[in-house]
């Protein structure tokens, strides 16, 4: 096993997973600057993949009552209600018609950030690496899919995911997440969420092409004065080797509930095994010492009693 299979730049994940003549790697580019928070993607995903409902309670925190990705939510629209700081050159988007600021300085300055979140289909996917049954696999499209008939519900992939995407369904304990509509891809169609998105906030296609398109879009936004626009998860040199699903964000990633600097945990696995080996040897050494010390004491006492002539 070489290092680049666990972390770092990985140009051909499908090929390295054993797919011969794999098609170009496909992905999602989610441009949150045009998301209108309609949740068509959430609904289309549920409909197409026949995902069960996962609670209908209101959260009271925002218009987002889904709260996050999970076993039964494979697309999730985050809904952030912000009073953005006007100082320090932060961009104000004309997303909400706020009333004029009163004399007390209250009541103005509001913006909504909306972003459709999804499984990142990491280049180095911790969930896939740590799965003990081989239930998770790399498809020919470079995406990561769970085989539900093989998953045995150990739940190890859940804390392994640096994005908090995959989750066990409480009813049967097995883990579920976005498949990037593997069935639709196989039939030459785009995933249901991208198909349903009315504003092309969710774009689907070959990853290289999406990265080019995203770079153009960021330049366009910067030129238009939206200086806070930035890409997230597009760098093949990042901690997970780049995401198969990346984003254009208008604020820091953590505002959207995304980790600012995720790292695939298996990057450190060689070091961990090394330390575990060291610890196992220390345990053996400590035990040997524990048997040696009383024996030596005994020996010393006996020789002391007899004395040396």
């Amino acid at each position: 096993m070489t290092d680049h299979l666990l972390s770092g730049v990985e140009p051909d994940p499908a090929g390295d997973a054993g797919h011969l003549d794999a098609p170009p790697r496909t992905g999602f580019f989610t441009d949150t600057s045009v998301c209108i928070g309609c949740k068509a993607c959430e609904v289309a995903c549920k409909e197409w993949n026949a995902i069960p409902e996962d609670g209908l309670s209101l959260t009271g925190m925002s218009y987002d009552n889904t709260q996050g990705l999970g076993a039964s939510t494979w697309r999730h629209v985050a809904f952030i209600e912000q009073s953005p700081p006007t100082a320090e050159g932060r961009t104000e988007l004309p997303l909400a018609d706020a009333p004029e600021t009163g004399s007390d300085g209250q009541g103005g300055d509001l913006r909504w950030l909306m972003a459709s979140d999804v499984c990142k289909h990491c280049t180095h996917a911790a969930c896939l690496d740590v799965c003990p049954t081989g239930s998770l696999f790399r498809t020919e499209f470079g995406t990561v899919v769970v085989q539900e008939d093989i998953c045995n519900g150990c739940g190890y992939c859940v804390p392994a995911c640096p994005y908090g995407v995959i989750e066990q369904r409480p009813s049967d304990g097995r883990a579920f997440k976005c498949t990037m509509c593997y069935d639709r891809l196989g039939a030459g169609q785009e995933p249901a969420c991208a198909k349903a998105c009315p504003t092309e906030s969710i774009q689907f296609g070959p990853l290289d092409e999406l990265r080019e398109r995203a770079a153009l879009r960021v330049d366009q936004l910067h030129a238009a004065g939206v200086t806070d626009a930035r890409l997230y998860g597009h760098e093949p040199t990042d901690g997970v080797g780049g995401d198969g699903a990346f984003f254009l964000l208008l604020d820091e990633p953590e505002v959207y509930g995304l980790p600012p600097d995720p790292v695939v945990t298996t990057r450190d696995l060689p070091a961990m095994w090394k330390h575990a080996g060291g610890a196992a040897l220390s345990l053996l050494g400590g035990a040997a010492l524990s048997f040696a010390v009383p024996a030596l004491k005994h020996l010393a006492r006996n020789t002391g009693r007899k004395g040396w002539r």
Binding site: M1, D3, H4, L6, S7, S57, L58, T59, G60, M61, E81, Q82, P84, P85, D104, L113, A126, D129, V130, C131, P132, T133, N152, G153, C154, G155, Y156, V158, P159, A160, C161, P162, G164, V165, E167, Q168, E254, V255, G257, P259, P260, D261, P262, D268, A271, M272, H275, G278, A279, S282, L283, L284, G286, A287, A288, L289, S290, F291, V293, P294
Partner: protein, 368 residues
């Protein structure tokens, strides 16, 4: 997550703050105040008031942003009794086999037999805990479908599949007296596999995105080895006759010293995440663990060689201390996963450090 409890006075009950970006970050009343670092707890009960809106501001005082206080990563859904219990029992079994082999080789037959039985019981119970967590027994068999070095759980399943029968054969031969040579071989095999069974669980915990576990991935195996040795020596003090317990007493002292030193090292490396090891349920458990381990080791060393009841009491303290260590580390991991602070703040710091130091990409790809 609670349901909505909206009253006429506004929403009530414990729930994420209503502002995605806390006021402190926008230069609000508490913004920029020194000393309000990331270390403060109880932030969701913050009583700060937002002018004119008549609702409680639940913004965290820590300097980080999050999505309504929701966790960034998902905490493992493992039950503490099953998985922390599995860590403890695996350690007890693994290190117990090593002590059993030592006792076997040095003619301490009573201790050897008792430790072999204890290891078999512990590994059986730990497998039962694992199966209970999976839900159905056939799901354990599914674990042996593949062997993946990148999955500590896969490696562990195979280790358990090899170690369990060895520990069983060692115990069976010792109890019945049949096939002494095969029994000695099984004892040796169990002693060689035992340390791996005791320490691989540290890799299992560390190879996750859980900040308190992954951040301590270098120290955790040594901590688990020390804790396992403490448990096994405690068991030897409980079951062994006084004249045979000298090695166990020595091992207990070594384990207590190592446990304390490694724990200290882990906390230093973890930085702000170390507070998950000091506060809440984890803090209580780990303080108890250190006290019990120190008490057990000292008691064993001072009185274990004279009075059987005192030796047994020291042994029980060591066993309880080891169990508290495992449950404490488990609880610290859950606490660190459930609070976005422990994911966001160290990651932002890492990102910042990389931005200010040159040649970042080379550093990134190297396994550390």
């Amino acid at each position: 997550m609670t349901g909505s409890d909206v009253t006429r006075e506004g929403p009530e009950g414990e729930r994420p703050g209503r502002e995605a970006a806390p006021e402190i970050l926008r230069g609000g009343p508490d913004g920029g105040k020194p000393g309000r670092g990331a270390g403060q707890r109880g932030r969701r009960r913050g009583k700060g008031r937002r002018g004119g809106r008549g609702e409680q501001l639940m913004a965290p005082p820590a300097e980080f942003q999050s999505y309504y206080g929701r966790p960034v990563i998902k905490a493992p859904a493992w039950r503490a009794r099953d998985i922390a219990g599995y860590f403890f029992l695996g350690g007890l079994a693994g290190a117990g086999s090593v002590l059993a082999a030592g006792a076997h080789a040095t003619g301490r037959t009573t201790t050897a037999t008792a430790m072999k039985i204890s290891s078999l019981a512990a590994v059986s119970l730990s497998t039962a805990a694992l199966v209970n967590d999976l839900g159905r027994p056939d799901r354990f068999a599914n674990m042996l479908r593949v062997l993946k070095p990148t999955s500590p759980m896969s490696v562990g399943s195979w280790l358990l599949a090899a170690y369990g029968p060895a520990a069983g054969a060692a115990a069976a031969c010792a109890v019945t007296g049949w096939l002494p040579r095969a029994g000695a071989a099984a004892t040796g095999a169990a002693a060689l596999l035992g340390p791996a069974v005791a320490t691989y669980t540290a890799v299992l915990a560390a190879d996750t995105a859980v900040p308190a576990w992954h951040g301590a991935h270098r120290e955790l195996p040594y901590l688990f080895a020390a804790s396992a040795t403490a448990a096994a020596s405690g068991m030897a003090l409980v079951v062994g006759p006084v004249r045979e317990t000298a090695p166990a007493r020595c091992a207990a002292v070594l384990a207590a010293v190592a446990d304390s030193a490694v724990h200290q090292a882990a906390e230093e490396r973890l930085g702000m995440v170390a507070e998950t090891y000091r506060t809440g349920r984890a803090g209580k458990l780990l303080r108890t663990a250190r006290a019990l381990t120190a008490l057990g080791a000292a008691g064993g060393a001072l009185f274990g060689g004279r009075a059987r009841p005192l030796a047994a009491a020291s042994g029980l303290a060591l066993l309880a201390g080891s169990a508290c260590t495992r449950f404490g580390i488990f609880a610290a991991g859950i606490a660190s996963a459930e609070d976005p602070k422990y994911t966001v703040v160290p990651q932002r710091a890492a990102k910042e450090a990389r931005r200010t130091t040159p040649a970042p990409s080379v550093e990134r790809t190297q396994p550390t």
